[in-house]
Amino acid sequence: MNTVSSEVVGRSVLRVDGFEKLTGRACYAGDIAFPGMLHLKLQRSDRPHAKILGIRTAEAQAYPGVVAVFTCRDIPGTNRIGREIPDQNVLCIDKVRFIGDPVALVAAETPAAAEAAAALIRVDYEDLPGIFSPEEALAPGAAKIHPNGNLLMERTLLRGDPERALKEADLVIANTYRTQMVEHAYLEPEAGVATFIDGKMTVWMPSKYSHFDQRELAEAIGLPPAAVRVVNATVGGCFGDKTSLSPGYYAALASLKTGRPAKMVYSREESFIATRKRHPFIIRHTTGASWDGRILAAKVEIVADTGAYCASGPTVLVKSLIHAAGPYDIPNVSMKVTFAYTNNPVGGSMRGLGVPQVTFAHESQIDILARELGMDPFAIREKNGFRPGSVTATGQRLGDSVSLVETLATVRAEVARIGTPPSTGSKKYAWGVAAMFYGIGAGGRSNPGVARLEVDTAGAFTLFVGIGDVGQGSSTALVQIAAETLRCSMGEIRVVAGDTDLCPDSGVTAASRVTYIVGRSVQIAAERMRERLQEAAALLIGAAPESLRVENGFFLSQDAPLRQVSIAQAAAKAKERGIPLVAEGVFDPDFVALDPKTGQGEPMATYAFATQAALVAVDTGSGEVDVLTIVASHDVGKAVNPDSVTGQIEGGISMGVGFSLTEEILLEGGRIRNPGFNGYFLPTSLDMPDTVSLIAEVPEATGPYGAKGVGEPALLPTTPAIINAIHAATGIRVKELPATPERLWRMLRDRHQTSSCSTPGEQ
């Protein structure tokens, strides 16, 4: 890894963690073992909604190899978790609210003993009425899942006068869209290992936010946060999950109570049952337009199933509100978004935070409009699409880094180049297009990134950041930014990430914020470090600090061209002079909080834009859809590592293919019917389309070297592009995901039985 400076940002350098991952040396939490460690297994609720009358653990206690059985009474701390509303327990107290709620924990000498004993725990329940849809939850007289009722949160947005604009519009279309519950399905099931030595708890676990987990688990199990160290193990995929109430919490509890090291690993089935899911949405979307294709008004009403607990429901709600009108300049918008508790699995953060759902709806709407108006689907998006200076539904005037129209033009040209195969017999081929915008970072609140850089007197740098690489390549990108700024080789910079004892709190790996926000904080830290070293080098060279530049690890001065000073020499001099060998950078993007009633504000400092087009082959006999090609153009501001960017785009497309066609958590009375890969179908290599991933770069002035983000945007347009392509191929409009062969076959069969609707109204 000896990439030369000044060419680091913008180059597809090799991943800093690639060698370890390719040789089997990367250490995931499940790979960690301590002598004498305990193994843990939870008894989880098999009832969707019930009072706990009693928990009988004697039989489990007596099982050979069992060391302890814990219930809520054994937890010295608050036993409460939840980042936004602490409405969940580490071990349930008086009630269970979904199938999978944790009730009791067994610690045993072997995994087999723990599992066998957990099955012997008897819980006496009194069943309560189960509620399995948000409509039921909000109906008058519904059983209360939480003391305050079943409404988690409702927010509204109003801009202009949408009612009047809809009355005056030439064309109004209204449709209801439904999206399914989706599992993150990272390949690494959750795991955690803890040791408790001399009053210090150390927990190794995959986490998208180690510092939050440190604080939450400390309070929950009853330790001061300073006594808890969370160390991010290698993260085997995250996609928004892997924080809060993971096996690491239980390992810490068991270790605290027994003094022994403890380890817990979820099985795949447990990972499906226990962890959070993508929120299912019901979206009623009404759009009004003029005959010339100008969108005049949008009215969006969303009801979502947030499951048994709050988790990140409010974040997902607000993100969906911000984005539900799409990347279009619409003067009149109203929205109402309602999240309701149910006794289904818990809705959480998942790649896109509610935006994949609303993108499916708004991109279907604009496609229907185009068809009704006889317009080209690219042209209608170009006509209404955001440009620099456009105003969003929240009333935010966009800055300069807005290249939606360019991505539309790029994709249109590529689609024309590739062409369309002729349809034959029952095989119908067609392209569909979809666009998106996505705000980078938390919506309407502070979310600072923090980084610390140290140098030793040998000239070696260490970069400390609170966020661990979740697979997307953040550690590599952050080292690239540091190396570019310090104008040294990447090999001179070691990265320490996600260790709460060593690293600053950089915020969470979420909302595509890491490169933009934490990356900028790294750049600021590196600039400060460079200034400090430059000051020391200037003393050695005998020139003014401003006259110095740094190249390939050496300071040079134009005033004394024959003298050069290495980073190591500068660092040694700095130390001697008391100049700190450490520098910190903080970046918290500007925002204006959303007004709680009108939803007006400036929630994010910058937005990413993208267009994707999908070529599908639909077999009208079987309803099977083959996605042949996806063309994707993404405005990322600046690609710090182009291969990582296209890797995100390709991975996002794959996840989008699953969201469109195959992936669905099937629920029956709150029970997951398909908790494994034999019933929950992830796209395989055979399902992956050809991809053309194109990067658009319109720099964001506040980002590191102009960078924004791509992790979530990668996924957003894929599904509506595929669904719009299915319509273009067959005339069938899918409004409920996923478009499984069975669903599509039924719609094709039923087509002739219902009148085709080409007048304004429900399509």
Binding site: G18, L22, G24, A26, G237, R268, Q472, S654, M655
Partner: protein
């Protein structure tokens, strides 16, 4: 609990005698007995491919293979692929192509690809896709993995690539064009 049974296997080139419970799967023998944690556990049901290792040169799912069945066999895991610290051409190609993200599917994916290339040094894109279709990856969308396998095939066939020649120079799978 049934008594321990003694078996002899060749792990990554070294013959070893190990005692195991007869009901143990090869995956647990590797991870827990031998400390070879490079082989990953993703589902324990033969559905994800993360536990793929080579047994006598064939790609097998170690989560579905009884340890006893491996008696006398030669087992190659990811730890045995690089020789003296030099990455195998497949590992090198995965690195260069950006085919690794979270890394959890990587060991199984690389070994499934090795079994393919050992049997078929010139696989087409379709053949690569089929060979790794039992190995799930949630991060990459497989595209760069497929490119990496083809790049490695080329390297293994002895095509002399200069070390710093950009990987892009190697012929990639082209998107189909419909005139």
């Amino acid at each position: 609990m049934a008594g321990e049974v003694k078996i002899k296997l060749r792990f990554n080139g070294v013959w070893r005698e190990v005692e195991t419970r007869p009901d143990r799967i090869l995956l647990d023998l590797l991870r827990e007995e031998l400390g070879l944690t490079g082989t990953k556990k993703g589902c324990e049901a033969g559905e994800c491919g993360a536990c793929t290792v080579l047994m006598n040169g064939r790609a097998i799912l170690s989560c579905l293979t009884p340890a006893l069945k491996a008696d006398g066999a030669e087992i190659l895991t990811i730890e045995g692929l690089a020789e003296e610290g030099n990455l195998h051409p497949l590992q090198q190609a995965f690195l260069e192509k950006g085919a690794v993200q979270c890394g959890y599917c990587t060991p199984g994916m690389v070994l499934a690809a090795k079994a393919l290339l050992d049997a078929n040094p010139t696989p087409s894109v379709e053949e690569v896709k089929r060979a790794i279709s039992g190995n799930l990856c949630r991060c990459t969308g497989y595209t760069k993995i497929i490119q990496a396998v083809r790049l490695a095939a080329e390297a293994l066939r002895g095509d002399q690539r200069r070390k710093d020649e950009p990987a892009e120079a190697v012929k990639q799978a082209k998107t189909a064009v419909y005139p």
